[in-house]
């Protein structure tokens, strides 16, 4: 035979809750009442904490900030990860970072000009990565370490639709697949890379299918459906944990806010489009579902809101009570041990500051 098909692939789309919160019972993940409420709580926390960031930025109390508004269903991945698993995020995963146990003030610090905010103390989370698409390779390296040490741990990494156009994204998928490392790639396709829409980012019908070219599964998920996100994440993570290799998961979602506080999205998208996505809000959708399960009441919602707001106020107080970092700090973490030249430069700056402040 001269001609034959040597490869064919498929990409499935998974949605558990439709846009009105009605569940497909055949796809519902097995979750306890408490877990269902936890997913909802995490999303509400993220929305309020995110909104607070915006207010802090507008008041000049933190710097440029990237909102996650509309993308809260990413918290589904938090429920699928185990305590010893790792997260390698980009800069639009605050909801997930909070759900994994980071404090609201960690994020406020980070966007408020303190490197210390990148530590996420006690958690296996890498610092947020600003150069688009570069960090999935770090996730691959960490996952590779787990495989080499026979540890049953998994790394989840997040990036946006724009990142799939970067070379490092492809190198990461290729390495992950060649070495069959326990890494799950989550692409938050929020339809825009700043102003450039998804269709101009790639001519491919889905972003998930890019996984197939590297010999890994690619799957597309309704990224505004927290139950679908959880369901697919759990399957991919457990597959990776037990030697099944990496997966590329495309979460189809929408960035309701501007790219960052320095952007104005009204310049490049229509109200109609934003309204369309507003009707697909991940929190309202889950709220409808919880109502049908008799797990949601207005009273619970009110109490939840009050609790979260008071928790966030405390975080803001902690953040605002931080004193300006010591000027020498910029020299102290370049290397484990400071070089003589860095020591000299540090002293020089310190002396200048002292002179400026009239201490000498």
């Amino acid at each position: 035979m001269a001609k034959k098909t040597v490869f064919s692939g498929k990409v499935e789309f998974v949605q558990v809750l439709d846009k009105d919160g009605k569940a497909d019972k055949t796809l519902l993940p097995k979750l306890s009442k408490e877990e269902l409420k936890q997913l909802y709580r995490w999303m509400v926390f993220a929305r309020i904490a995110d909104e607070k960031c915006l207010k802090l930025q507008r008041a000049g109390r933190i710097g440029t900030f990237a909102q996650i508004l509309g993308q809260e269903a990413q918290v589904g991945v938090a429920l699928a990860l185990k305590k010893n698993d790792w997260l390698v995020p980009s800069f639009r995963e605050n909801a997930l970072i909070w759900a994994l146990g980071a404090k609201a003030e960690d994020i406020y610090q980070l966007f408020g000009g303190f490197e210390k905010g990148q530590q996420f103390s006690g958690l296996n989370i890498l610092p947020i990565s600003v150069p688009v698409g570069t960090h999935p390779l770090h996730a691959v390296g960490i996952a590779w370490a787990f495989k080499l040490r026979n540890e049953k741990k998994v790394v989840a990494t997040f990036f946006g639709d724009g990142a799939t156009s970067e070379g490092d994204f492809h190198e990461a998928l290729n390495f992950a697949s060649v070495f069959q490392v326990p890494c799950v790639f989550f692409c938050q396709n929020n339809q825009y890379a700043i102003s450039v829409p998804r269709k101009k980012q790639s001519h491919a019908q889905t972003l998930a299918q890019k996984g197939l070219a590297y010999g890994m599964d690619g799957i597309q998920v309704d990224g505004n459906d927290v139950l679908a996100v959880y369901r697919v994440a759990r399957t991919a993570i457990e597959k990776a944990r037990f030697g099944g290799g990496p997966t590329l998961v495309e979460l189809v979602t929408y960035r309701m806010a501007d790219h960052t506080t320095a952007d104005d999205a009204t310049k490049y998208r229509t109200k109609t489009e934003v309204e369309y996505w507003k009707k697909r809000d991940p929190i309202l959708r889950m709220q409808h579902y919880l109502k049908t399960k008799r797990l949601w009441t207005e009273k619970w919602e009110d109490t939840l809101g009050i609790q979260i707001r008071s928790q966030i106020e405390k975080s803001v107080q902690i953040y605002e009570a931080l004193s300006q970092p010591q000027v020498g700090e910029m020299f102290d973490f370049l290397f484990e041990k400071k070089t003589p030249e860095l020591e000299q430069q540090k002293n020089k700056l310190q002396n200048w500051k002292n002179q400026e402040e009239g201490k000498v």
Partner: protein, 325 residues
């Protein structure tokens, strides 16, 4: 002690590193079965296995980016980039992440990795195979940069680099891979980073050099000696951090300074040394500082490469000028 060339010395260093510490990994293109295109990793995969000496896809950013993750997760990766002229796809990973991870997380994470890469010209290679790119890395805060010129230094410095807690770019001058054989200790030893070496003490002028230019400077010493000029030769070995103290002490003694490197002149390491010595040794100087370097041109194809690279004659000629100033 055994007679070793630089390839053998580097191979011995990698052998000892792998033997001493199970977290050491070698990865790169052709480093496994093939033993590396220059045979630096020869026999190591056979000895330590495919999980320790890893052939990777042809993917420089992939090699360095995944090494960052491996390093964060507790390994000590020694990545090979086949030629320094091909390091650019990995540049973003080195500059944006490896160099910054410790600082960015205020010490929570660090990147104890080494990138080994053959460099510099003189071997009649194709375009991109003869580059001297060290300054770009020296200019980047958070990276250490090393370039040995002898087998013994190559071994001791590579072992220090591998066990250093921070990222090190380790340049290996290809021309010197097989040029010199010397006695090298067979077992594990380290030569500390950040310490220059006085190759030959002298009275009239300080010559500061590194990498391929050190053997050229040694030849120049003979030419100068015939003219009654006693030059002190310093091999920097570590380019970042740089041992200014040794240079300052030497210039204090001789009053004259010539810096010799193969890389282009503008913002080459010579510029930084000249500026610093001008600041710190102004009262010692009896003549202008001179730089003997490659030119601000693209490294030519091999027909002209020996006109680009400073020769011992050119070095001696320029050094004599400042001595007679």
């Amino acid at each position: 002690m055994t007679q070793m060339n630089m390839i053998q010395a580097l191979n011995s260093a990698l052998f000892h590193a792998l033997e001493k510490d199970s977290s050491v990994l070698l990865l790169g293109e052709d480093v496994g079965l093939n033993g590396g295109v220059f045979r630096v990793t020869e026999g190591l995969q056979k000895k330590f296995g495919e999980k320790k000496v890893i052939d990777t896809p042809l993917s420089e950013s992939g090699i360095v980016g995944s090494s960052i993750g491996l390093a964060i997760a507790g390994f000590k990766p020694v990545a090979e980039i086949q030629f320094s002229g091909f390091i650019y796809p990995a540049f973003d990973q080195l500059i944006s992440h490896a160099a910054r991870m410790r600082n960015r997380t205020r010490g929570k994470y660090s990147c104890p990795l080494v990138v080994r890469t053959p460099c510099s010209g003189g071997v009649r290679a194709l375009e991109h195979h003869s580059e001297s790119t060290e300054s770009i890395f020296i200019h980047t805060p958070g990276l250490k940069v090393v370039m040995p010129s002898t087998p013994n230094d190559a071994k001791g410095l590579l072992l220090s680099a591998i066990f250093d807690p921070d990222p090190v770019i380790f340049f290996e001058p290809m021309k010197l891979y097989r040029q010199l054989k010397q006695e090298v200790k067979e077992d594990f030893f380290e030569i500390p980073l950040g310490k220059a070496k006085i190759v030959k003490p002298g009275e009239h002028v300080s010559m500061v050099s590194f990498g391929t230019m050190v053997p050229q400077c040694i030849k120049a010493l003979e030419l100068l000696d015939k003219k009654g000029i006693s030059a002190e030769l310093i091999d920097l070995r570590s380019l970042s951090p740089l041992d200014f103290e040794t240079i300052q002490d030497s210039v204090h003694k001789t009053g004259r300074l010539a810096i010799v490197h193969e890389a282009p002149r503008t913002l080459g390491l010579g510029a930084e040394i000249a500026a610093t010595i001008a600041e710190r040794n102004v009262l010692d100087l009896e003549a202008p500082i001179t730089r003997i370097t490659g030119f601000d041109t693209i490294m030519p194809y091999y027909r002209l490469e020996n006109d680009f690279i400073p020769s011992s004659e050119r070095i001696a000629f320029e050094v004599e000028k400042i001595v007679r100033f």
